[in-house]
């Protein structure tokens, strides 16, 4: 009997290879779990029927294009849209023995940190169903946590892989910018977006990353990895210099339970042989959010201009002429958050305001890059909380956009610098997961995997949500 709550992709691969189970049995196990638990959790916007295909099932965030499979980006403006080609990341997964299990729920156009901005309803956190799974990739994180997929693809712009992973108790990697192709992925902010793996273990995460990564001729911002992905083996941290940015651990927005779990992880790292020291990233913490909430919306205002009702997606029924069609289509098709961001971005780029807002934000970005680079002269990896809080109640922050933006306080700065970040579950606080964020220099994924794997082994976190423990569920 296949226990989807505990099966890793690595183990599933072995079982298939040694013919202990068949692809059909594997698919059936996940389908059964989805039928049982997804009506309540709403991780999936679309589940693929068994087409007799082979391979390890993979859940795919609904901002990633899948040929012939509905792709909505969590928006009404793409309701019914069927891509006519696969994103490169999907092609690579298929070529490596994976099959698309379904498309997971997301904040609309990946804009949000709770999945409550999805036009199709929120996803619930499997650890406590009155709480959010995080966002924008809440569907992927919740699906993996609830045993509804062995692993998933997510996308991260300001923390949309890392933060849901923290809130749902799984492992999520935001890769070095440029190592994973964005071709076929619904664009939000082109200098920030990266597709990455969400999994139950660091090794699974590394395995999926190795399938995704590498230069794509269809995405000219991609490069090859300087060295191949190394699946982590060692469980000690001898010789690793771990930096703890004081502003990221002492900030008043961080809940005591989160602080305690992260502190325990720091002590563990020390015990495993790491050299742990403090560093300071003051500008990154103070100016990271405003910098991101200028640059990302500016880029989004450009990327979302294509949704005009002409070639695909929703078109208003009420247009008097073509200009009217564009405007009404977009007002009727977009939800509030994309509208807010498009408006902020358009304003920041408009004549007379460009230098003061967007131009200045680009300079702040340089400051953030330099601040991180300085820290990496003394340390191999930085360790911080991923999210200031554990999963909050559905509806708690939806009335206040800025309160919602604060969820990204700790994930955004390294995203702005193009740096990779790995969330590793560190423990529980009031029965809800807490994650640590490991940040490294560009192309340091192997270091992140090594540190993550060692911590994961030492921490011994059980990724099965508390309400779902106690044996196999039908």
């Amino acid at each position: 009997m296949i226990d989807t709550l505990r099966l890793t992709a690595e183990e599933a691969t072995r079982l298939l290879r040694e013919r202990e189970i068949s692809s059909a049995e594997l698919y059936a196990a996940y389908r059964e779990a989805i039928d049982a638990r997804d009506p309540e959790l709403h991780c999936y916007l679309h589940v693929c029927d068994d087409d007799g295909g082979e391979g390890i099932p993979l859940a795919v965030k609904d901002v990633i294009g899948t040929k012939g499979i509905p792709t909505t980006a969590g928006s009404k403006i793409l309701e019914g849209y069927l891509p006519v080609y696969d994103a490169t990341v999907v092609e690579r997964c298929k070529a490596n023995g994976l099959r698309v299990l379904g498309k997971t729920n997301t904040d609309e156009f990946a804009m949000g940190s709770s999945t409550e901005n999805s036009a199709y309803g929120p996803t619930r956190n499997p650890w406590n169903t009155s709480r959010v799974p995080g966002g924008s990739g809440g569907g992927s994180a919740a699906a993996v946590a609830a045993g509804l997929a062995p692993w998933a693809l997510g996308s991260d712009t300001g923390g949309s892989i890392k933060q849901p992973a923290a809130l749902c108790g799984n492992v999520g990697l935001r890769p070095t910018y440029g190592t994973v192709s964005r071709y076929g992925v619904v664009a939000f902010a082109s200098s920030l977006d990266q597709v990455g793996p969400v999994a139950r273990t660091v090794r699974d995460c590394a395995l999926l990353y190795s399938i995704l990564a590498g230069r794509d001729p269809c995405d000219s911002t991609t490069v090859d990895l300087p060295q191949p992905v190394a699946l982590p083996e060692r469980t000690d941290l001898t010789g690793v210099r771990v930096g703890v940015p004081v502003e990221f651990t002492d900030h008043e927005a961080i809940e005591p339970g989160v602080r305690d779990a992260v502190q325990a992880a720091i002590e563990l790292a020390r015990g495993l042989g790491a050299e742990v020291g403090e560093c300071s990233l003051p500008r990154s913490l103070d100016y990271g959010l405003p910098c991101y909430y200028l640059i990302a919306p500016a880029e989004a205002s450009s990327n979302l201009a294509r949704y005009d009702g002409v070639r695909y997606g929703y078109r208003t029924a009420n247009a008097t002429d073509r200009l009217d069609m564009y405007k009404r289509t977009r007002d009727e098709g977009f939800g509030d958050e994309p509208k807010r961001r498009v408006l902020v971005g358009t304003y920041a780029l408009s004549a007379g305001y460009y230098e003061a807002y967007y131009g200045q934000a680009q300079k702040v970005r340089t400051v953030l890059i330099r601040e991180h680079a300085e820290a990496f002269e003394r340390f191999d990896v930085l360790l911080t909380p991923t999210s200031p809080t554990v999963a909050f109640e559905l509806g708690a922050k939806t009335a206040d956009p800025i309160a919602m933006y604060l969820n990204d306080l700790l994930t955004i700065p390294s995203c702005m610098a193009g740096l990779p970040g790995l969330n590793v579950p560190a423990g529980l606080s009031d029965g809800l997961p807490v994650g640590v964020q490991l940040i490294g220099p560009q192309f340091s994924e192997n270091t992140l995997f090594r540190v993550g794997h060692a911590l994961e082994t030492a921490i011994g976190f059980d990724p099965v949500p508390l309400p779902l423990r106690g044996g196999l569920l039908r």
């Binding site: 019914g80 200098s191 911002t221 405003p290 070639r311 002429d321 509208k339 200045q360 680009q362 890059i369």
Partner: protein, 96 residues
Amino acid sequence: MAIDREQLLHVAHLARLELRDDELERLGMQLNDIIDAVSKVSELDLSDVPPTSHPLDVVNVWAADEPRPCLTVEEALANAPEREGDYFKVPPGGAT
């Protein structure tokens, strides 16, 4: 107040958004809060700091000028809200 109703209408027009009255009210207020918050970037004196547009500098990414298969006309029109022959059909008129 950073952005008044006139400016908001102008920005909405640039963004090709037809905002309803209740949206002008609600989004207008939220926009002002957001612009207020992001204006924090102007606190820093960055006159001698170069801007960053790309976190990873890749230069001269060439592709050979060779024809490759691409979408067929049918594929390209597959999701058209309205189509006539090999064309996407749209209402006439109304500036751009």
